[in-house]
Amino acid sequence: MGKKNKSVLVVGAGIAGIQASLDLAEMGLNVHLVEESPTIGGRMPQLDKTFPTNDCSMCILSPKMSECARHPNITVHTMANIDSIEGDPGNFNCKIIEKAKFVDPDKCVACGLCEEKCPVKIDDEFDMKLRKRKAISRYFLQSIPSEYTIDQEHCLYLTKGVCKICEKVCEANAIKYDDVDKEIELNVGAVIMATGIDAFNPIGFGHFGYKRFKNVVTSLEYERMLSASGPLGGHVVRASDKKEPKSLAFIQCVGSRDDSIDKNYCSSACCMFAIKQSIISKEHIKDMDISIFNMDIRAFGKDFDKYYEKSKSTYDVQYIRSKVSDISELSNGNLRLKYVLENGEIRFKEFEMVVLSIGLEARKNMQDFAAKMDIKLNKYNFCRSDGFAPLQTSREGIYVCGGMNGPKDIPESVVAASGAVANSVKFLEVERQDIKEEGTNEKNVIGDRPRIGTFVCHCGINIAGVVDVKNVAEYAANLPNVEHSEDVMYACSQDFLDLIKDRIKEHDLNRVVVAACTPRTHEPLFRETIAEVGLNPYLFEMANIRDQCSWAHMNEPEKATEKSKDLVEMGVAKARDLSPLKRLPIDIGPGALVIGAGLSGMTAALAVAAAGQKVYIVEQEKKSGGNLRKIFFQPDGKDPQKLLQDTIKKIEEHENIHLFTNTVIDKIIGYVGNFNTSIQNLETKECTNISHGAVIVATGANEHKTKEYQYGKSTRVVTQVEFEQMLLNKDFPHGKFKNVVMIQCVGSREEGRMYCSRVCCTKAIKNGLELKKIRQNVNIFICHRDIRTYGFREQYYTDLRDKGSVFIRYSPENKPKVELLDSTDPDSKLNVSAFDPILDREIIIDADLVVLSTAIDALEENDILAKMLKVPLNADGMFLEAHVKLRPVDFATEGVFVCGLAHGPKDIDESIAQSKAAASRALTFLSKKAILAEGTITEVDISKCSGCAYCVDVCAYSALEIDPEKEVVVVNDALCKGCGACVASCRCGALDLRGFSNRQLHSVFDALELT
């Protein structure tokens, strides 16, 4: 191996770039995150809600954004582009151009005064041009960094030399008209690309009248309309008459699955996007009539089908199988849709508004970009990657994730990001990091009388423009235990932070209260500041007198001042009772246990071992390889068996990997960094104990064994897996072999298994194409409910259709029927009858072979393992991740991760990406010698505990246990997250939450003199 490097470059700061940066930074690497726009966040901030949980997109994203911005190992370069990458992996020299922002980020306090006064209005791209922004602005409300930037193209001073209003109103003197572009040179070991995707622009496309008809909008515009922080404040009205639309049509596949515009791929996310928007719309406007015009509904992800079914049953969304051929606008602004049903019948329907579900496409500048970076693109201008190396570009040392190499939804992007990190590790120096010792020179304040310093912030005029700040500071000065009180212009500026440290020394302060903005963004900064002069960081309290006072009561200055005084008094009351808290270190032991030696388990093991960690793989079968042993073909021509043999060889040869086959897990005890597992060989009964720091669950899944469609009664009815074996051996039924019927969704998407098994459509088509190679004249009939060849898989669907195969859509109420011609002879030929909606009648096929695409079943053993690991399963028996969107391979239980089929049905490339992601997430822990537990956790007064164990049931993290000898509860500091649910449930008053203790909170409730 060549040179390794401590630094790494991430290009693009959408959710994929953010996730990659966080993982790398947690492994102790120096990350440079380069982003073209003025903020990190990418596409997610534009979304209102996310499917299938309807989580608020911004709420789930913003903690990751601030973590990324605050992380000491991450340097964010916004408004920056990568210009060149020279050199070799391990030693790349990269040139970055950082554009002039014209606002000094160190001085700007994001008060927004400049934007208010700026006379130049321009289209707001973030709000899809549905609203205007100013030439000086911040990209969106929660932008990070929050500082403003000037739009060079539109600023009056920068273009015409007049105006300068922003400079005049800026009290922080942050405007810098002479700012220039900067060139930065970086030496890095690897590059992770995550430049994202664009949305299809439907101007002039089809006969949909986008931009001609006022009430036709794109799905992204509609998303902004639905958003509570969007241009309409979440009250959807149509553009023509500002009335709430009572009927809405979604048109799917606008710019997707369309060879005529060179986009013969599926954008993967738009079906779910439309379902989500229809559900949210119905929540806004209850009596809305919604129809979704589609070719297929591709709800192929985990729990997506349940969401789809819910949209029909609970929200009465109508799904119409049809391509809309024309839209005309009526005089009242309504839109008349002309569409053709499957049977050829032409229909018309009027809607008050139309949403075009626009597809995802490669970024506009991809060809130039790829040429500069020396990476290859596919024919749709997405970054090219290989089915067995889905995160790798054509250039070694440069990896790809997110939408850059094909349409993806959020969790897939997050998975790819973590996976790309695992790939890059071989060119990076990942070492076990020491923990930074906390509080070594901390002043002991226990037993000292509280000496509180209060600082009241003007925030320019943001607070002082409404609240009488001086008056508040004077009021605070007279409160008990307040030794010092003053008002300051900008509490968060570097000058003030220095001042606060001086005052602590000067007045011997041992508690600090800052009345300013919100602790959610600024508490960490102030805590770090007081820690610098030896105060425990938890001896700090904030009063939020801006976001929750001056900004919310702008027309009531007196009442706002009175409220500010109260809030400061409550803050002082809490501060008085604060005590120093210690974040206890939890030692993290090295090594990982991987459960399951299928492709996912082995791939994860190799990725963890690549970072120098020991890995133990436990496999209950006699041979490794799992389901991959039964896969012989890939539609792209790659050889799965070669992949399997290569992987097995690497595992066998790796000195740090120990594979235990024919072995089961007996017991797992412990927690993150400190697991202890005993395993037993099924044959020799020999037991082994393993200590390890992390666990990766890769137990796989089974092919469903059906009783439907004469399976087991006829030798001519086989599953797709069995059929693949026939294709390999070219061993088909004897005699005439003319007609093959495939039946999709056998066991999937119906009662008991209300999920899509995801891989079967592509598998059926793949096997169909293989059959056509061997027996060109065989007729293939595929009975399906929707064909779900998402992403670039669409091409194979087209290929098989071009070869004359027939696709027959059936409904679950009217499944195809399979009958033996001679019911006494299992070798007898078969009759398959099915209703064909295109011919509008029943057809009967004389079948020589029937191939069933059976569902993927969760393992029954999952249940036992889940209990051992204290992790949940979903209703279908698959492992349930910590967060379906942003923590797709983590569990809420730290140090335990999941990948492959154990998590849910997925294809080979997706399993590879996910197992690498699980490895990468495990490495974020394993690369540390210790982690710090949270300071604000539960403590027990055992003298009061009756051992009732009510708290044990309440705890969502299994952090509480009853000590069997003492019969009192014990808190595991490593597991407690500090929610306080146990404290509120304790009947004996034995539990308390540090930092939010009963005493502290009661002091706050009691602080004000109200009577």
């Binding site: 959610r520 939020n544 976001d547 009442k559 306080g980 939450l993």
Partner: protein
């Protein structure tokens, strides 16, 4: 009575409702200045005693707000909160306190507007009920 301004204690969870209150401010949505906010990690932290303590101090009303059911940052805290809330209102009635002095809501971090609406409504409701006298210390 119409000029009378109630004092209301708002106990907000850190991850959803407190963030929603911040967003209301950032969006400059205006609401009555009658609430005094206490930030706690999770609505599951709320002990019914907190609410009684607030009435005893002299707050005319109490608002407790957490994440929407299913959205709890701590997985299930708001469900426990909801169960406690179900029993505390009858208790208030039993001791002769108007149950509407105590209100619960679910406000997400993205619902600045909802937060301002909730506060406006709660303030109006409490205004209608009038000043608290029962239970208050020193009265």
């Amino acid at each position: 009575m119409s000029d009378w301004q109630p004092k209301i204690l708002a106990i907000l969870c850190n991850w959803c409702s407190y963030a929603g209150a911040d967003l209301a401010g950032v969006s400059r949505l205006q609401y009555p200045p009658n609430i005094r906010v206490v930030r706690i990690p999770c609505s599951g932290r709320v002990d019914p005693l907190f609410i009684m303590k607030a009435f005893q101090t002299g707050y005319d009303g109490v608002l407790v707000s957490g994440c929407h059911p299913g959205d709890c940052h701590y997985l299930s805290g708001n469900y426990f909160a909801r169960r406690k809330f179900a029993v505390i209102k009858p208790l208030m009635e039993f001791i002769g306190l108007e149950p509407d002095r105590l209100q619960f809501s679910w406000v997400s971090a993205g619902e600045g507007e909802r937060f301002s609406e909730v506060v406006t409504k709660v303030t109006k409701d409490i205004q209608k009920i009038g000043p608290i006298t029962k239970m208050v210390k020193g009265v």
